[in-house]
Subunit: 416 residues, 2 copies
């Protein structure tokens, strides 16, 4: 796919222009983008209608259709988020560290853009606008590739936004979309090491695993969350019930929703019946090990080994009765995806060991797993939630789209 | 290679133990490692002698033999560096950020180890000890794989160091070496996404490109440096001569040595003859474009297109006469490897544009490229010099071997 390489070369040129722009210009571009989303909503909605018709004819399931669908309210929401982003502080140009070297060179480490960011995603056309806005804010160029189901919507949004940034003097090539739905285009994108600085897949585990396995471009993995709530022997059951139900039910389709419940055997007879009842009342399908089935009052079916590793993203939860803290931590470190993990306990030592020993981006004591979120954490606009350990871990704010550069100002120094 | 997977599983277990150790224990382990290097030098030197004999018989060239060779002085140097590392501050456990969320959850972001670090390198057995010490310091487990030419030396050092950490109660499995010289072992290592947290190749461009192209484990690229010195029209020639010669000659075999010289046409007739003379006096082989050849007084042969992209790592340099700043910046951004780049100028605007527009880990005004170094930058022990933009850029100190974890301490909070 030479056209993908060509597009990346143009994005790289555009990224050099963006790197030289001021925060004020980029914030102006964001305001122009937000205004254009509203002014040209008809074009976007007409394209979305065609995507929706084709998707319905193809028998696309309801939840996916909902992700694909745009209306005036959703477009207004996208525009409002872009306006809010324009008001956030610009991380580019921050002096991260610095000192005068013993030889007199002034050394400063300065925050700079990554350069060219690529994003591969699935059905949500709003990701097109989110990603374009976040990258313009951080002076990066972006190459976008959404699912073919959303092609017309994504291309319309890209056209509207690229036109908008041009009105304030930024290059159109800073926001580009891969129009080919051929798999070879993705393969080419993943091969462009040296031209693309980072590739961020946003979507299900299948997409993310494919990108990790095949990309030569550095990847930031996001958003696969097989999260647990562990009800320790020292838990207050009246606190455990709302934490488990909130973690599971408040928004079951997202990555920080809990998928699995661990309960200490010492408290299982007391804690499991009210928790199971609350979950069943909320319409959650429950599977569990033999002891959870026995205590589940008919609401818990038998789990298989596969259940412990499954991210349902739905109103379904697995339950395991464990002998104690050691087994709970070992289970989570074995089956978890290092996203968000919670313990409910009144015991100090158990709380301390849990936060020390569980290997995850976010660990909680006596709080819902649902708090792992850039907005909740006060990070501002969120690019995604990283489940890897390099570069960024957990909710990623604008800083995750930056790198740094050392600048040494000398007066003729050479190394001895 | 199921044995590589097995070894990685053991390293992961060991990494969990290390993550729970105190700085004091890990520094004790480092002192034990340093002492063991000296006490068991005989074992290491005997193994090195066998590697050296085999390498000589195989006709290994001199510079490679020099990298392979260990003697008592070099072992003492390795031990001293480990002792110095024990005295450095521990980055693990640092609270990076934190605040009380509006709902009352105390949120802290804490520095934690990466987990399991893998390093693939070539002939230098000292990398075995360096890497083991840096990872013990940062509470990571390490899996090492050196060149087969250094196999006996590396395995002897690994045995000595793994024994040493055991004496202070750390698991031997925290320092492991892949003894198979089969290529399949490297392939397996690169496939262990989820078991290994980062893979750091240290060596030539061939090794690094192979790892980047094939690894599913996140990679930190290090050390390929096609660095330039640009003598601007506004340069002080008496400053340019020592900066160019130092950048090229002070240690030509390392990544921050300059490989290419750019000279403004306006100053070329004045600046090139003394620079060429100084380089030729230092034994540097010179190639250049037609104008450099013409001004080179017989010392400059004709360059080919390949020369502009070549990292010689030797007493050789390419020279190009450029029309001005724009072309110099464009040349560097096209052919450079984003490592270290220098301008010599007395002109403020040229200096500012150069540091703003050249895309590299380190950019200098009126100073040698050779300063890009963890020790020179005051970062303490250096893991390598990253030429990528994600996670770490430029000289990497201990912090590059860490990640962070968010900890939320609640009292029953759920998300509304």
């Amino acid at each position: 796919m030479p056209e993908v390489r060509e597009l990346a070369l143009r994005a790289r040129e555009a990224s050099r222009v963006l790197a030289g722009t001021s925060s004020a210009t980029r914030d102006q571009a964001l305001l122009a983008m937000a205004a254009a989303m509203l002014e040209r909503a008809d074009l976007i909605l007409a394209s979305n209608l065609l995507d929706m018709q084709a998707a319905r004819e193809a028998g696309t399931p309801g939840p996916l259709l909902d992700r694909l669908m745009l209306d005036e309210g959703r477009i207004a929401g996208i525009a409002a988020a872009i306006v809010a982003l324009a008001r956030e502080a610009d991380p580019i140009g921050e002096v991260v560290s610095g000192h005068r070297m013993p030889n007199g060179i002034w050394l400063t480490q300065v925050r700079v853009p990554l350069g060219v960011v690529a994003m591969i995603y699935e059905a949500r056309p709003n990701v097109t606008a989110d990603a374009a806005a976040l990258t313009v804010k951080t002076a990066n160029a972006v190459i976008l590739r959404g699912g073919s189901i959303a092609l017309r919507s994504c291309m319309a949004i890209t056209e509207v936004l690229a036109d908008a940034i041009q009105t304030v003097g930024l290059p159109r090539d800073a926001i580009q979309y891969i129009s080919s739905t051929d798999r070879a285009a993705t393969d080419e994108l993943m091969s462009l090491h040296g031209l693309i600085d980072v590739l961020i897949p946003r979507g299900g585990a299948g997409l993310i695993n494919t990108v990790v396995a095949n990309s030569k471009v550095p990847v930031i993995e996001t958003g696969v969350g097989n999260c647990h709530v562990y009800v320790h022997a020292g838990a207050d059951v009246s606190m455990a019930v709302p934490i488990v139900t909130n973690s599971k039910c408040q928004r079951p389709g997202v990555c920080n929703a809990a998928e699995s419940l661990l309960v200490d055997e010492a408290i299982a007879a007391e804690a499991l019946p009210p928790i199971v009842r609350a979950l069943a009342d909320a319409g959650v399908e429950l599977v569990g090990d033999a002891r959870a089935v026995a205590l589940g009052g008919g609401f818990v079916a038998a789990a298989t080994e596969d259940d412990w590793g499954t991210e349902y993203l739905d109103l379904k939860m697995s339950i395991k009765v464990v002998p104690g803290l050691d087994e709970a931590i070992a289970h989570i470190n074995r089956y978890g995806t290092r996203h968000s993990e919670a313990i409910v306990t009144g015991d100090y030592e158990a709380a301390k060991r849990f936060v020390d020993e569980v290997d995850a981006a976010a660990v909680y004591v006596n709080a819902s797993t649902r708090f792992t979120d850039g907005g909740e954490f006060g990070l501002g606009a969120e690019i995604g939630i990283s489940t890897q350990k390099l570069h960024a871990r957990g909710p990623m704010g604008l800083v995750a789209l930056t790198s740094t550069k050392f600048i040494g100002m000398g007066s003729g120094q050479v190394r001895a």
